[in-house]
């Protein structure tokens, strides 16, 4: 068991998360190892939202009165805060959506509905190709399938290698002049694999394809700096990075956003509306139809503050240490197989595994009886599981508040699970 870093005071962090004191049974404390599905919120995030709502709430961008001014300031300050967190050159590159899923849908829809005034680069059409990977979350796969269905384009994918990383040996033939988009996850929500962003960006650039990065599982766990990643568009979720549900982020290079047709339409995204036609505002407003998730933006900004105060490098180091501890511990249990690149030191956040002969649902049930809240199933990455002949896996995921003792409890719990089922004749 590796001790948490000296600067990273996990006990102090835990005190910020009210939910962590929950008991599941009178003698079973809750051990939350499902931050990969959704994170818990520190008091600072809850308080920021409540403070906004009890002091400054009003509709944004639409009012001349002072409350509207206060609300608009809160909302736009949150945009600046998120831009800063992501290293974005301008807050105008940050679009608030309801989730990473909506951000990815926004991109996929926008690329399918352009007209003569839209640059070819931003129009996916019949015969074009969209390249994804075999490890994608459904959120970064199904919207592309639907785009392909609507336009006559084709979805191709970079397959998995046996070692749970991408098999990019055929990348040269997968990326062609027909490739319009390469969409891939930064870090797999199942495997923990961190993808080679630079190599994929280079391949995309060589044919003028757009790159779309699903950062839902990296932004909460490691520094994500859009100014150096080289990708064109990035999606992420508020609720996976200590922020509220109901908010996500699309980051995009301004010169692209500026040319992309709107997705959702309605109030606040228009320039002029007539009964028979309308024109649209500049980004980010163009992509934020209707009343946005205002208090949620404020909460997300507070989450960025919280994470930045810890330091994303430190967060990554903390979670890498826990990940290595879990990998080592679990690998020592008979019948347990790690599904993911066990040797990768970069990986953070999640460890998935298979218990021979045991359905993950049954594994999860036994772990739950011990207070261990882990996720079981295909984790919205069904093709990935199918590729490895699995119906599902059990996944433990780590957060800023996870302790080495909790990881020990996980390892002991899995050992107990194996024994438990072994005990039946």
């Amino acid at each position: 068991m590796s001790a948490p870093s000296r600067e990273f005071d996990v006990e102090a962090i835990r005190a910020d998360f009210p939910i962590l004191s929950r008991m599941l049974d009178p003698d079973t404390p809750m051990i939350y190892l499902d931050g990969g599905a959704t994170s818990q919120r520190p008091r600072q995030v809850l308080d920021a939202e409540v403070a906004y709502l009890t002091h400054d709430h009003a509709a944004v961008k639409r009012g001349a009165h002072r409350m509207a001014g206060a609300a608009t300031d809160a909302y736009e300050d949150a945009r600046e805060r998120v831009a800063d967190f992501l290293g974005a050159p301008s807050p105008d590159e940050v679009v608030f959506t309801k989730s990473a899923t909506e951000a990815l849908n926004l991109i996929a829809h926008s690329l399918g509905i352009g007209d003569g005034s839209t640059p070819e680069r931003l129009r996916v059409r019949e015969g074009d190709e969209i390249l994804v990977t075999e490890m994608e979350h459904h959120a970064n796969l199904v919207p592309w399938q639907e785009l392909a269905r609507r336009t006559g384009a084709t979805v191709r994918w970079i397959p998995m290698a046996e070692d749970f990383t991408l098999d990019d040996s055929e990348l040269g033939s997968l990326v062609t002049e027909r490739t319009k988009v390469i969409a891939f996850t930064h870090q797999s929500n199942v495997l923990g694999t961190v993808n080679p962003v630079e190599r994929l960006v280079e391949a995309a650039r060589s044919v003028g394809a757009l790159t779309v990065l699903d950062a839902a599982q990296s932004a909460p766990h490691m520094p994500v700096d859009v100014s150096t990643l080289g990708v064109d568009l990035v999606a992420l979720s508020g609720h996976k990075m200590l922020g509220p549900t109901g908010i996500g982020v699309l980051w995009g290079r301004y010169e692209l956003l500026e040319q992309m047709p709107p997705f959702l339409t309605g109030g606040s995204m228009i320039e002029i509306v007539h009964m028979d036609h309308s024109t649209y505002a500049e980004p980010p407003a163009r992509f934020e139809a209707g009343t946005p998730p205002i208090s949620q933006a404020v909460g997300l900004a507070a989450a960025c503050d919280y994470l930045d105060a810890l330091g994303m490098e430190a967060v990554a180091a903390h979670e890498q240490a826990l990940t290595q501890q879990a990998l080592t511990g679990l690998a020592g249990i008979d019948g347990v197989r790690i599904i993911g690149p066990a040797a990768s030191p970069q990986r953070t956040g999640a460890v998935s595994f298979d218990v021979a002969g045991r359905h993950p649902h049954d594994v999860g049930q036994v772990l739950d009886s011990l207070g261990l809240q882990v996720r079981v199933g295909h984790h919205c990455a069904w093709p990935l599981h199918r590729r490895f002949g699995l119906h599902g896996t059990t996944r433990a995921s780590f957060s800023v508040h996870t302790t080495a003792a909790e990881v020990d409890a996980l390892v002991a719990g899995v050992a107990h699970t194996v024994d438990f089922f072994g005990s039946f004749s």
């Binding site: 649902h361 119906h391 438990f420």
Partner: protein, 152 residues
């Protein structure tokens, strides 16, 4: 070990999971259905064969189930409850089982009606598991609708 857990994974459930009754896909059959639980990826393929005499006697229920112990045991127990009886006879069994499973533990379950199905009721307190246990029954119902439609 928690009491919840021992209520779920009884010897009987584990026994049905390990050595499921009537498992495998057989001929003849009137209809075959394939059901999936999208949350966990569990699947069942189920075939139903009714008597040709109009009495709707269930001559065979054969199946291939991929899933957790609860769902596999549920399929095994269900097949054993169904085979040899008429659709009309088993309807109260199905209805009572579904009611008890959906009751979060409030409905006790009548062993005379649902036999080994009693062993599955521990799952009633776990909403996520209720679906696992009911999936074979949903498949049976769908196969029944289809068999009737094909026969008509």
């Amino acid at each position: 070990m928690s009491t919840h857990l021992s209520a779920l994974y009884t010897e009987l459930v584990i026994e049905h999971d390990k050595r499921p009754l009537h498992a495998g896909l057989r001929e003849p059959f009137g209809a075959e259905v394939h059901h999936v639980n999208p949350t966990c990826g569990d699947e069942i393929t189920l075939r139903l064969q009714l008597s040709a005499d109009g009495a709707e006697r269930i001559e065979d229920v054969s199946y291939d189930a991929v899933g957790c112990a609860m769902s596999r045991a549920a399929a095994s127990i269900m097949a054993d409850l169904l085979i040899g009886r008429t659709v009309t006879e088993v309807e109260p069994v199905r209805a009572h089982f579904e009611e008890a499973m959906g009751s979060r533990g409030r409905v006790e379950g009548d062993e005379d009606l649902i036999g080994d199905g009693i062993a599955l009721l521990g799952a009633a307190k776990f909403p996520a598991r209720v679906k696992c246990v009911l999936m074979p029954w949903k498949a049976y119902q769908a196969a029944l609708v289809e068999t009737r439609a094909l026969g008509a």
